[in-house]
């Protein structure tokens, strides 16, 4: 294995580490420290935080997440198809149309069953 090829990666990693570290270090060394309650508060879009962080999510959230994950991963089948699209014939197009049609039916049934409603 030629180490010189990999030296670039090492140098790149070092630079990538140094670049953000230097300003943070300088700020820590030179900046004054005067903490007060507002400053130490958790930053959340500038709005005052309400309640505890460890709250229970609505169960609907999990259903959303599960549905999303399934549809997301089904898209995996589209990638090889799209990459090879130029070289495929009509059959592959029809097959993928059927696949997407089935996914659409799934989505439709989820909607009718009320799985997409938040309240």
């Amino acid at each position: 294995m030629n180490l010189n090829e990999w030296a670039f990666v090492g140098i790149f990693l070092a630079i990538a580490g140094i670049l953000p570290a230097v300003p943070i270090l300088l700020g820590w060394l030179l900046g004054p420290r005067k903490p007060n309650p507002i400053k130490t508060d958790t930053y959340e879009c500038g709005i005052e935080t309400v309640g505890d962080t460890w709250v229970q999510f609505k169960v609907q959230y999990y259903i959303f997440a599960l549905v999303f994950v399934i549809f997301d991963v089904e898209m995996l089948f589209l990638f090889p198809w799209a990459v090879a699209y130029q070289r495929l014939d009509l059959f592959a197009f029809v097959a993928m149309t059927i696949f997407i049609l089935l996914l659409t039916i799934d989505l439709f049934i989820l909607w009718r069953k009320g799985a997409l409603e938040w309240t």
Partner: protein, 102 residues
């Protein structure tokens, strides 16, 4: 080039870690994660075998995608079951599932 056996060792090690996780962990979600680890170890094997042995056919790669998708379908069903059980019992520890004799 990295030899094939290195990939196989990584795959076997991950699979063994997954099996250990399933047998040793008590939390149902941790068991589910270990199962996912096992399936992904298999994916490493499949893609490595495909790249080194039969790069001219697609079956290894295609199989890996199928394993992904089926793993997700399984995880979705499993998580739904776990959420349903958690809502009633406030616990997903496998040892607490003792109404039926194991």
């Amino acid at each position: 080039m990295i030899p094939l056996w290195m990939f196989l060792v990584v795959g076997a090690a991950l699979f063994a870690i997954g099996v250990f996780g399933v047998l040793a962990r008590r939390n149902a979600i941790a068991i589910l994660m270990s199962i996912e680890l096992m399936l992904n170890a298999v994916n490493i094997n499949l893609v490595a075998f495909w790249r080194y042995l039969t790069p001219e056919t697609m079956s290894g790669q295609a199989f890996a995608i199928f394993v992904f998708v089926v793993a997700v379908a399984e995880a979705a069903v499993g998580l739904a079951l776990i959420v349903a059980i958690y809502r009633r019992r406030q616990s997903v520890v496998a040892e607490d599932m003792n109404v039926l004799k194991w």
